[in-house]
């Protein structure tokens, strides 16, 4: 335990990097996944293609993707950007399906009512369809977030900072405490992130909190 207190500064820095590397892909992934998910919910061929490609990408192990990316898009081999892009790809793959399913599950009667009232398509999407899809999207976000927080550590294997550094360092120095600290820190971060997302989800959907 004293080790932890002695290295709070390091832990702080690593936390900042880890948070940055896990949250940014989720944000990027969400932004890209929304229009893709909408397209998949609207047109059957789009759904088939998008879901197949998503499924395929999600199948590829993280380390493999991180290593292959530099060859595909000419990034530097050991650049953190590879981790960000990899995790964004996973987030997109996960969320496209979630969003497509969530939008398809919005009752047709509600959409019809909105159109009949006079909503134009974009406004209707923003004001009616997407809000109703939020609970499912938040569920998908939680999975993506926790998954990313765990995966960022893989980047340490090729030298990218984050809690993973505690694992590689601890392993090389045969120092168990450091590794355990890393695991605990990861779990704590995942817990906090999960709770925050749940909270945001509830705040955005007051209608689910009312009633019996």
């Amino acid at each position: 335990m004293t080790w932890v207190f002695d290295h709070l500064g390091l832990l702080g820095d690593l936390t900042v990097t880890h948070v940055y590397l896990s949250v940014l892909p989720v944000v990027i992934g969400l932004i890209i996944a929304i229009p893709l998910g909408w397209a998949a919910s609207r047109w059957r061929p789009a759904r088939a293609i998008l879901l197949t490609v998503s499924g395929l990408l999600y199948t590829i192990p993280s380390l493999a993707l991180i290593v292959i990316l530099p060859a595909l898009i000419s990034t530097k081999t050991l650049d953190p950007i590879n981790v960000i892009i990899t995790l964004s790809v996973y987030t997109i793959a996960l969320l496209v399906r979630s969003i497509a399913d969530a939008l398809s599950a919005v009752p047709g009667t509600v959409v019809a009512a909105a159109t009949a009232i006079g909503y134009r398509p974009v406004r209707r999407f923003v004001g009616v369809e997407f809000p109703l899809a939020i609970p499912v999207v938040v569920a998908g976000l939680r999975v993506a977030m926790v998954s990313n927080i765990s995966l960022v550590s893989v980047g340490a294997l090729i030298g990218i900072a984050g809690y993973g550094q505690l694992f590689t360092n601890g392993f090389q120095l045969q120092f168990v405490t450091e590794i355990v600290t890393g695991i605990v820190a990861t779990l704590l971060l995942a817990l906090v992130a999960d709770l925050l997302l749940q909270l945001i989800g509830r705040l955005l959907t007051p209608w689910t909190r009312v009633g019996r």
């Binding site: 380390l63 292959i68 060859a71």
Partner: protein
Amino acid sequence: MNLLTSWLFDPTNWSGSTGVPARLVEHLWYTALALLIAIVIGFPLGALVGHTKRGGFALVGAANVLRALPTVGVLTLVVLLAGIGLVPPIAALTLLAIPPIMAGAYAGIQAVEPVVVDAARGVGMTEREVLFQVEIPNALPLIFGGVRSAALQVVATATIAAYVGLGGLGRYVFDGLALHDYPQMAGGAVLVAVLAVLVELVLTGVQRLVVSPGLRPVRTSGGIQR
């Protein structure tokens, strides 16, 4: 693109004890082993909790915590504590494969319609018959989903396990890293990616064969009177 394929097309990399076929077999062997043990442990747990409807909250909670564990952390910890060799990394792989299988079994059995389970008891099945003849067959799609998810998890983690001394395709990534040999790293990565996709396809095929046709989403053809 050359970077990705140059190492792969070199025939010397395909022979010998460190050649691709050998490493591939190692990788598959670790995967199969960890997956099987994870199924033996995780499936009965998930199925039982799903059938008796008791302890679901605890099970889902446990699965979530296990899923949040960083794979690199678990691998390094287990190997440091239990030493290098085959068993510690495989144990770590198994541990990480249990949550999806457990969750899949639990979710699958939970999702069987209560009416169907009630009817199964009503026709005179014992609890064991209800579980094996009705609940599990109907839960197969979700059970298989869990197994597929676990399989991919293991393939991915086995790759990382090369870092703590295990064999398998991940070796190429770390050996390549140490030698600043990007083509080797990339070659290994491509092989792993292809293996993962193949495993998924094979398991999906098995699922098609094993799951009852009655559970597939129905497309009504012209001859059916509704």
